[in-house]
């Protein structure tokens, strides 16, 4: 998976840094920096999940756009703003849902109900 690079993989490198932050850095710093370190660990987790899931999610997103006959979120947004989908807003939402859930699954999976 990592070729041409050597181990550790990108995800394994992120894990290594994260473990150092959690087990070593956190215990020696003031609360304000602990908060910012927690934010940083969370960012590393987001990147790890994006590396793991991103390729499949990109394909789903492309397929969604193609099903609307557009090439970008910007084009689809313009269609919606123009009123092209006014008669089927709920149906549009239903079609957008899997892609939104993909984004949340990377950004903050605990948020999904």
């Amino acid at each position: 998976m990592t070729a041409p690079h050597d181990r550790p993989s990108a995800v394994e490198l992120l894990e290594a840094v994260r473990e150092w932050m959690e087990k070593d850095l956190m215990s020696g710093i003031e609360p304000r920096l602990q908060f910012h370190t927690r934010v940083a660990m969370n960012v590393l987790d987001i990147v790890s999940r994006e590396i793991a899931m991103g390729a499949d999610q990109l394909q789903s997103h492309d397929e969604l756009l193609a099903s609307f006959g557009v090439k970008s979120d910007a084009e689809l947004s313009q269609q919606i703003r123009n009123g092209d989908h006014d008669a089927s807003l709920l149906e549009v939402l239903g079609r957008l849902r899997p892609v939104i859930e993909d984004k949340v699954r990377v950004a903050n999976p605990k948020y999904l109900r």
């Binding site: 934010v39 940083a40 919606i80 939402l93 939104i100 984004k103 948020y111």
Partner: protein, 316 residues
Amino acid sequence: MASDAEELASGIRVVMNATDVSGLRRLTGGASRETWRFNADGQDFVLQRVRKGTPGGLRTEPAVLAAAHRGGVPVPELVVDGSHRDELDRPFMIVRAVQGETIARKILRDDEFSAARQALPAQLGKAAAALHRISASEVEGLVNEDQIDRYKQVLDDLGEPHPVFEVAFRWLEMNRPTSTRQCIVHGDFRLGNMMVNEQGLSAVLDWELSHIGDPMEDLGWLCVRAWRFGGAHPVAGLGTYEALFDAYEAESGVRPDAHIVRWWETLGTLKWGIMCITQASAHLSGMARSHELAAIGRRVCENEYDLLELLTLENS
């Protein structure tokens, strides 16, 4: 810097007409304000001063604070309105310090606030009702702008289109509540801007976004999922809509319409989603490099997700 604080302390002595000013220290403030705490002749006060180089002054905030106080809303008592005075170099106001906690996660989780959590939904409903009873003409200069137009413009200026946001805009336009009352609204009525002690709400803070609008805007904003801070219940993470509406009705005689509140909650969710893009762009543009602001960019999708849930619920 030390001399700055000394100069400020002597200015405070003058405007407070106090013999002794001590313990002056700066607290973390907002983007446009400095916040200082100090003691004058044995009593604690908070000074808010416009940040250096920030245009616009304090605008209507001191006048709204005074009107809210007269109307029985729990607010910090305004002691000096310095919005048009120059003793402290820039526009300022001084209020009496209120004891308590504003950090939402502590209020939602710490043992010392368990009684407060029981009381808060009704107290918030009562406070909102008291505010919304005040005549809009009591404060001059409050803006009244269409929020949909405003946030559409903000989103367009950011240049990051989101299809779910466009669906939300369309739905909000097509389902806009009719014949709504106009009054003074707080504009940022949520946990995080409430001072809470062990008995519950002690003061509603941060009035800088107050404006003229539909009173249900405040109730909807209070219920936006971001302002539940992980709490399970819709009202500030800790109460039911019914508890909020009951208290609002008991105080004002007007029962909030759940669908109208939900409309404002939906607009609030859309607004917070757009604000998340704004915050990330402050980092990306180099205006304020910060990994914390950068991370907020990945919270945009939480709001898209919430909009899916809200819009599906309202139309099922």
